[in-house]
């Protein structure tokens, strides 16, 4: 088995290398076919290898080479890596097909697809390397490669309208994050034998408290740059908006996860802290990130920017879950920690799937209509029903509507926050409650945001000047979109199969299994749970707990969270049951309605608009109008500046135009970067005062510094 896995991984790397070479060799449409074909091979190889690794429990290890004095470069596919690798493969398949299709439709021979292909495969390879790296060196080198390749891909389209500054900002932030990560590893490995992950884990127990905090903060912020948490995420909206539509799904669906992987690997797996301090920081930062992200997403009208803010929101939820898990583990409650971590990992998988789908849809819309502004769209559903259906599935998933996948992971996250009742410290419990409230508000705003997105873009009257025919061409649903939509549905309907798989990665970290709590075996017909009192089991049996267990094959249909052993409290949720019930209800309703209204005459007429000659697009509700209540209620966060409020007139009493423009500075910029920037500028100006060109002063500086060093040497 291990050999098979190793073989598949090798196949993956070989295919990547082939991809690089062949993309460079061919040109035009052939390149795109190569991208599509070889990416499929790579993704399937990734998925198979990680799936097999998870199922069999074996992780092959490969020692690449050994450098004297530094240690060995090793790769290993352990459980945590397998999960992320599987998600990566799952998303790369449709994303690559989308790349090939998008480039084929739009740019034909004039687009330098060769370079894109080379970069694409290189990025895939470096992402996989990051995930399987088993020592600090290989990890850091592949991380840096990945960052730089991301930058190249983001700044790929160089035409006057793209914002290349966004790419530079991303690169700068990535480098700053990288420095933090390097420092974190250095601090962690100060007393370790070498820099391989097992050695670091062993040395972690001897680290002093300040060192642990240092590792946590540096690692959290450093990986947080990639993950997209406040306050280091201000590159994300700019970058997602500026990146070419072919690349953004990968950026959102794959590279974002690397940030989470980093946090999990360094701060949860290798160097965990004791006590709840660090976890609390993660929880609070995560909740605030989620809230800020969704606030800006709700009031944003450019679809790509809106989705970027929504990614920030989801990143916040995941980090909050990780934080909760760290708190539980630090306080000694392993099972709730496992549950929280399950929620975080589930949400990572879900987010990758539906975010990729959303970005793909946005790319299609942009290709078809030429605009991403929701105020200029509208009425797309009539011209592109396939795209509309798939986009609807994605919107429902991200709004956490059952039976899709978002519901399961959000439910699990909120449930795990509710487990805080077991914690001893009341301060922590209060913080949990507040963060729970913030996340609940976030969920509500997310629904608003995506209702607005779907309704304003797809429903209603056409508001912009685009041609409906081009929409028909682009608007068919394709394999990649349907694949992702089906994945959304399956992940939502079959959580009882997903949770044990995730558990394999979680159990080594938290030393407790979540499966027993989440999907207890007592609902299955064969096993009886001896830990529970028989009377309890009997009650549940009478309530129909066994229903469906014989009809539907496999484990029970219920995903539930169980409380303490003595007085077990059950919170249950069953997406499978609900989808069956929903289907039955809908069928029944349809049946009744069609039979009852058979005799009815249906007349079709134009829309009633009060008797005016025609209902014009200017008269329909816009996205700005829809989200205005949110903007008004949270005005303290947005603090809009009214830049222009002019009233033009032809004559004194006769208005011809009222022009209003408002400008907003992002909250994070206002609170963090502008003050820091101002401080740095101030300091730099202070230092600049030293550079006045007088030679005597410079000699004096040198003398002073020399004296200082001698003094220091003397003192130490």
């Amino acid at each position: 088995m291990s050999g098979l896995i190793q073989g598949l991984l090798l196949l993956f790397f070989v295919a990547c290398a082939c991809g690089i070479v062949l993309s460079a060799a061919f040109r035009g449409k052939a390149t795109l076919r190569i991208i599509a074909a070889l990416s499929t091979v790579c993704s399937v190889a990734l998925m198979l290898s990680s799936a097999l690794a998870l199922v069999s429990g074996e992780g092959p290890e490969a020692r690449l080479w050994i450098l004297n004095g530094f240690g060995s470069f090793t790769l290993q596919l352990d459980a945590l890596s397998s999960i992320f690798l599987f998600i990566c493969g799952l998303v790369y398949l449709p994303a690559s097909l989308f790349v090939a299709r998008y480039l084929a439709h739009l740019f034909h021979d004039r687009y330098p697809a060769r370079r894109f292909g080379v970069l694409h495969f290189s990025l895939m390879g470096s992402v996989a390397l990051v995930l399987v790296a088993h020592d600090a060196y290989s990890f850091l080198i592949s991380w840096e490669c990945m960052s730089i390749l991301c930058y190249f891909l983001v700044n790929y389209e160089q035409n006057p309208s793209t914002d290349t500054r966004a790419g530079y900002i991303m690169l700068a932030m990535s480098e700053a994050g990288f420095l933090c990560i390097v420092l974190a590893f250095l601090i962690a490995g100060r007393t370790a034998t070498d820099f391989s992950f097992p050695a670091l884990a062993a040395a972690a127990v001897h680290l002093s408290r300040p060192a642990l905090w240092g590792v946590f903060l540096l690692g959290f912020l450093g990986f947080g740059v990639k993950a997209g948490i406040v306050p280091v995420n201000f590159w994300l909206p700019r970058c997602y908006t500026a990146a070419p539509p072919a690349f953004v799904p990968i950026l959102a669906g794959v590279t974002l996860n690397l940030g989470f992987y980093g946090i999990l690997r360094l701060n949860v797996d290798l160097v965990p802290t004791h006590g709840w301090g660090t976890g609390l920081v993660a929880l609070i930062v995560g909740s605030v990130t989620a809230l800020v992200g969704i606030l800006y997403a709700t009031t944003e009208n450019d679809m790509k920017t809106m989705l970027a803010h929504s990614s920030i929101e989801n990143a916040g939820i995941i980090v909050a879950g990780i934080g909760a898990s760290m708190i539980f583990r630090g306080s000694g409650f392993a099972v709730p920690a496992a549950i929280a971590l399950t929620a975080a990992l589930y949400h990572t998988a879900n987010h990758s799937v539906y975010k990729t789908l959303l970005f793909q849809g946005t790319g299609e819309i942009e290709a078809a209509t030429g605009t991403r502004e929701m105020d200029r769209l509208g009425g797309l559903a009539r011209f592109a029903p396939g795209l509309s259906a798939v986009f609807l599935v994605a919107c429902l998933s991200i709004s956490a509507v059952p039976p899709f996948n978002g519901f399961v992971s959000e439910w699990l996250t909120l449930q795990s926050l509710l487990r805080s009742a077991v914690l001893p410290s009341s301060f922590v419990k209060i913080v949990f409650a507040l963060c729970g409230a913030m996340l609940a508000l976030t969920a509500a705003l997310a629904v608003t945001c995506f209702v607005k997105t779907y309704a304003m873009s797809f429903l209603g009257i056409k508001r912009g000047a685009w041609e409906p025919n081009s929409v028909k061409v682009f608007g068919r649903s394709h394999f990649s979109s349907v694949y992702l939509a089906v994945a959304c549905l399956l992940l939502g309907v079959l959580p009882t199969f997903v949770v044990p798989v995730l558990n394999r990665a979680i159990e080594p970290i938290t030393t407790a299994s979540a499966t027993a709590s989440l999907v207890p075996p007592f609902f299955t017909a064969t096993e009886a749970n001896h830990q529970l009192p028989p009377a309890f089991l009997e009650d549940f049996h009478n309530l129909g707990a066994q229903t469906g267990s014989k009809i539907v094959p496999g484990r029970g249909l219920v995903l539930l969270v169980r409380g303490a052993e003595q007085n077990p409290v059950i919170f249950a949720m069953s997406p499978s049951y609900s989808i069956v019930a929903l289907a039955l209800l809908l069928l029944l309703t349809w049946f009744i309605v069609t039979r009852a209204t058979r005799a009815r005459i249906v007349a079709r007429n134009e829309l009633w608009a009060g008797g005016i000659p025609r209902l014009l697009p200017e008269m329909s509700y816009t996205a700005t109008g829809f989200s205005n209540p949110v903007r008004v209620v949270f005005q303290a966060v947005f603090r809009p500046n009214i830049v222009e409020d002019t009233r033009e007139t032809v004559a004194v009493h006769f208005r011809t135009a009222i022009v209003r423009r408002r400008e907003e500075i992002h909250l994070v910029d206002r609170l963090f970067f502008h003050p820091i920037g101002d401080a740095v500028s101030w300091f730099a100006r202070l230092l600049a005062g030293m550079h006045h060109g007088k030679l005597n002063a410079y000699i004096a500086y040198t003398l002073g510094f020399l004296l200082l060093i001698l003094l220091l040497y003397r003192l130490t």
Binding site: I601, A603, N605, E606, W608, G610, G611, I612, P613
Partner: protein, 243 residues
């Protein structure tokens, strides 16, 4: 704020008992001229000449009244040399007779009738009278009649005014937006025959040239009880005037 509640209770029930019993209070209706016999046909002709809109038709010695034309100028009543007999009733609705027979709305609509009112160039009097039906003295809600702002939910289109040119298309759109079954009620002399405005380039001289009218309520303006009689006649709860 509670004084509103107590005050309302103290005032008691003010609603009229129509249609169960006839409302006899003074001022509910301006009344209408009746067909009057004169001593000679010359007198009848002079009586007819008093009417500025030609609503009095002479048949031998009888001066008959075409109520659809009457504009309530009262020139045949107060201070007239040849006054006509006068009746202070208000049940005046008649079928339009514009080529199709009137069939009342089916039974389910009897106690649940939704009306949409369109002002097609009205002077304000007929519209105001219709509006009075909502006040507690008449209170059509107790009879199951409701005024709806959207034609999609309306059963009866109540039109006032002679249909000015600018309102022609909105009126037609309103009619087309109504689902079947639907009936049209033309209220007021302007809506029936164009009133004092007549048929010009600026107004169509009545609704019947544009839409198929079912019932007509004559008067200028018809009092609220006459309009109520018309609404009740649409569902067959009240009988029409035969002429």
């Amino acid at each position: 704020m509670s004084f509103w509640f107590w005050n309302g209770l103290r005032r008691g029930i003010q609603t009229t008992s129509y249609p169960k019993a006839m409302e006899l209070e003074a001022g509910v209706s301006p009344g209408r001229p009746l067909a009057t016999s004169f001593t000679s046909s010359a007198d009848a002709e002079r009586a007819a000449a008093q009417c500025p809109v030609g609503a009095i038709v002479v048949r031998d010695r009888l001066a008959d009244v075409e109520l659809g034309r009457c504009i309530h100028c009262q020139r045949c009543h107060f201070g007239a040399r040849y006054p006509l007999d006068w009746n202070y009733d208000y049940e005046w609705t008649k079928a339009s007779g514009g080529g199709h027979d009137f069939r009342p709305l089916p039974k389910p609509y009897r106690n649940s009738l939704h009306v949409i009112v369109v002002d097609a160039g009205d002077c304000g009097a007929c519209l105001h009278e219709v509006k009075q039906l909502n006040n507690p003295l008449y209170n059509v809600h107790r009879l199951g009649i409701f005024f709806t702002p959207t034609p999609r939910a309306a059963d009866v289109l109540l039109v006032v005014g002679p249909v000015s040119e600018n309102m022609r298309v909105p009126l037609q759109k309103t009619y087309e937006a109504m689902p079947d079954p639907k009936r049209i009620l033309a209220v007021g002399a302007c809506a029936i025959t164009g009133g004092v405005f007549g048929r010009t380039a600026m107004s169509a001289g009545g609704i019947s040239s544009i839409l198929p009218v079912d019932l007509e309520v004559p008067g200028d303006p018809p009092p609220p009880l006459a309009v109520l009689h018309g609404l009740l006649a649409v569902t067959g709860r009240k009988d029409l005037v035969v002429c």
